[in-house]
């Protein structure tokens, strides 16, 4: 089997880097939301996730196993949000 290792890369961002984008999409503060990785079960605040923005979209990955948790692709007025890699995402209801 292959013995691939990953990172840590210098300058990898965390969930705070997409705090503004998530607030816009979910209508509430999301960096303190709790997310559970569907791949390994690791649970952490969104702020703890690894975030990659130098890509065609924003990619959020699990800090424990590097699996993709969420991908957000923006195209003018619309955003494609995929949360398939999250088994759970617990966040407070939007403040009105």
């Amino acid at each position: 089997m292959t013995q691939t290792s990953y990172g840590p890369d210098d300058g990898t961002l965390d969930g705070n880097a997409i705090g503004g984008l998530l607030r816009e999409l979910f209508g509430t503060e999301m960096t303190t939301a709790s997310g559970t990785c569907a791949t390994c079960g690791y649970t952490a605040q969104v702020a703890q996730a690894l975030v990659y923005l130098d890509a065609p979209g924003a990619v959020m990955r699990c800090r424990a196993c590097a699996a993709v948790l969420a991908v957000i692709v923006r195209r003018q007025a619309t955003a494609c949000v995929d949360l398939e890699g999250l088994a759970a995402l617990d966040y407070p209801p939007p403040s009105s």
Binding site: T2, Q3, T4, S5, Y6, Y52, A66, V68
Partner: protein
């Protein structure tokens, strides 16, 4: 940012560049931006392989050494990233995918590249044969660096550069098209920069 791309005519026309080489909506850069959707994988060359898979099985697999012993070509190509930069005259050392696919019996019409880190990209077979696609391991006279997809990446310069999958480990032969990573998230399934096929529906 490169001053070359900020000429008198604006950034869409770098000085001395034939505008016919720059697809619509792109600007020319002289540096090589690093785009990554995940951590940089590091696989020791002793355990690195490149495989062609078919119907869930490995049809053919090469070690690093075996790949290096195949005939390679010096390829010069213009590359176009969907994030709007274009880089002209990039030079690569690479094995044609014709050489690799020619060693497997198949009737596939599509391929999907698979990579360390789980990244995938789908391509019609017609676009990775006929001398239009390579497995590249050298860039600018040196080994391809990990941040640019080394030890080896695909090079399919006639399509947007996300199709030129970094850290590639093989091709899956498919009878029917299956979307890859960015294609699943709203990017164009084919990705022709000259028709500005950035997003699904373009």
């Amino acid at each position: 940012m490169s001053p070359v791309s900020r000429g008198f005519h604006g950034r869409h026309r770098a000085r001395g560049v034939d505008p016919g080489r720059v697809p619509p909506g792109q600007y020319v850069t002289t540096d090589f931006p690093v785009l990554s959707a995940g951590p940089t994988p590091r696989t020791p060359l002793e355990s690195w392989t490149f495989s062609i898979r078919q119907a869930g099985e490995t049809a053919k697999s090469w070690s690093w050494q075996q790949i290096r012993e195949l005939p390679s070509e010096a390829v010069t190509a213009d590359i176009h990233c969907v994030t709007k930069w274009t880089k002209l005259d990039t030079s690569w050392q690479a094995v044609s995918l014709d050489v690799l696919l020619g060693q497997v019996q198949h009737q596939a019409r599509y391929v999907r590249a698979f990579c360390d880190g789980g990244y995938t990209a789908n391509l019609p077979l017609a676009d990775v044969t006929g001398g239009r696609a390579w497995l590249a391991y050298g860039y600018d006279g040196a080994p391809l660096q990990p941040e640019h997809g080394g030890p080896a990446r695909l090079l399919v310069p006639h399509l947007y550069f996300w199709k030129s999958a970094k850290w590639v480990r093989g091709l899956e032969l498919l009878a029917a098209d299956e979307p890859g990573f960015w294609e699943r998230y709203g990017y164009h399934n084919y990705g022709d920069p000259w028709r500005e096929q950035r997003y699904s529906g373009d």
